[in-house]
């Protein structure tokens, strides 16, 4: 398992949707927004559900054990509005991907996905501005 804590400050974000009511908790109620992790492993599941899409990854953990990571992200309608569908992620099921996320405060293998890198080299990243970083 590749486990790296990023020192980069992270933005606070919300997950409201066009034409679709999406009231939910703030990510900061669950996730430590300053604790960013990079996880590389095999994508096993993509759940296209409200209020957040969910991706599951099997990653090599300490001592050779397999860690089951779960990541949530923005709602389906948000991804629809930026032109992405479940198939854009699901095509990588069974393949190795890398996810950058902020980690749950409770210490579980749970995170809020901020960036995903797919096997074909394509990456998608949530940003808080329309300007390239």
């Amino acid at each position: 398992m590749r486990f790296m804590v990023s020192a980069a400050a992270f933005m606070l974000f919300s997950v409201l949707a066009v034409g679709s009511l999406q009231a939910h908790h703030s990510p900061s109620a669950i996730f430590d927004m300053s604790k960013r992790v990079d996880i590389t492993g095999t994508l096993t599941r993509v759940d296209w559900i409200n209020p957040h899409i969910v991706l599951a990854i099997e990653a090599k953990g300490n001592g050779g054990k397999v860690d089951q990571w779960t990541f949530q992200s923005n709602p389906p309608s948000w991804y629809k509005s930026v032109g992405l569908a479940r198939a854009d992620f699901a095509k990588a099921i069974g393949h190795e991907i890398t996810v950058e996320a902020v980690k749950a405060r409770d210490g579980s293998l749970y995170g809020y996905m901020q960036k995903i890198k797919l096997p074909d080299g394509t990456s998608y990243e949530l940003i808080n501005s329309a300007e390239p970083k």
């Binding site: 933005m11 606070l12 974000f13 919300s14 997950v15 409201l16 949707a17 066009v18 034409g19 679709s20 009511l21 999406q22 009231a23 939910h24 908790h25 703030s26 990510p27 900061s28 109620a29 669950i30 759940d47 296209w48 559900i49 409200n50 209020p51 957040h52 949530q72 923005n74 709602p75 389906p76 309608s77 948000w78 629809k80 509005s81 930026v82 032109g83 992405l84 749950a104 405060r105 409770d106 579980s108 749970y110 080299g121 394509t122 990456s123 998608y124 990243e125 949530l126 940003i127 808080n128 501005s129 329309a130 300007e131 390239p132 970083k133």
Partner: protein
């Protein structure tokens, strides 16, 4: 032969009457969209070093609709009776745990806001919505009938519609008491009465609602108007809603809502 001719002539006559009735009013039919606050504001895509940015349109949300013709003066918040302010604050402070919408509940009227699609017919108008709690619809009679006498209490209420000049007015009663009419703990009782007003503004549509709730509000609340723009984005079935974060909540932080 003459009987056949008479039947055909009547059919054309009836069609003409219906068309004329529809023509008297602005046509609200169409798919409409509006953007509300949501960040991250964009998605960054990178392929072989080439970066593209897909922005989220937030312009409609941030536009001030108060200057649009026909918009009534509004206030950002409802005026609750003084003895209920503490309850509202408590609900709002713990919103991520107390708001039914946080847990895939129905937002109801007026919290769901304007419809995504309007189908305006001769004797009824249909509102279609996209929402994470499901994809509700409302069939609003416009044939002059009164409210149902004993409607079952519901989140979207019992609606009847009529035209007041160029404005389509929807009168809604028959609510239950288990929804909020807005964020920040805006609870209500089954006495809630909502009036929605919808009209054309050029190519756009304007939606504004008023909440009358004599049991909890000191005066009716005129909500801020929403400007809707024509949309080519088709309606899509909302994926099922599965809320699983509640056990992980470690504080009461919550983000902005509509």
């Amino acid at each position: 032969m003459s009987r056949v001719f008479a039947v055909v002539a009547c059919a054309f006559l009836i069609q003409g009457v219906v068309t004329a009735q529809q023509a008297r009013h602005p046509d609200l039919s169409g798919v409409w969209s509006y953007a509300i606050d949501r960040a991250p504001a964009a998605l960054k895509k990178e392929v072989n070093g080439q970066v593209t940015i897909q922005k989220i349109d937030q312009s409609a949300r941030h536009g001030d609709a108060s200057a649009i013709k026909g918009v009534q003066p509004s206030t950002p918040r409802p005026a609750y009776k003084p003895e209920l302010l503490a309850k509202v604050k408590d609900l709002a402070d713990h919103e991520s745990r107390t708001d039914p919408v946080f847990y895939c509940g129905k937002p109801g009227v007026p919290r769901i806001g304007p419809p995504r699609k309007i189908v305006q017919l001769a004797k009824e108008t249909i509102f279609l919505y996209e929402d994470i709690s499901g994809d509700p619809y409302r069939v609003i009679p416009t044939d002059g009938r009164p409210h149902r006498q004993y409607p079952n209490p519901s989140a979207y209420g019992d609606s009847i519609g009529k035209w007041e000049g160029e404005v389509f007015v929807v009168d809604v009663t028959g609510f239950g008491d288990d929804t909020w009419f807005g964020e920040d703990g805006y609870f209500h009782t089954d006495a809630m009465h909502v009036i929605e007003r919808i009209w054309k503004d050029g190519d756009n549509v304007v939606w504004q609602a008023t909440v009358e709730e004599p049991k909890v509000l000191a005066k009716p609340w005129v909500m801020p108007a929403r400007l809707l723009r024509p949309s080519t984005d088709s309606l899509e079935e909302s994926p099922r809603c599965v809320e699983s974060d509640a056990p992980r909540l470690l504080n009461d932080d919550h983000h902005l809502q509509r």
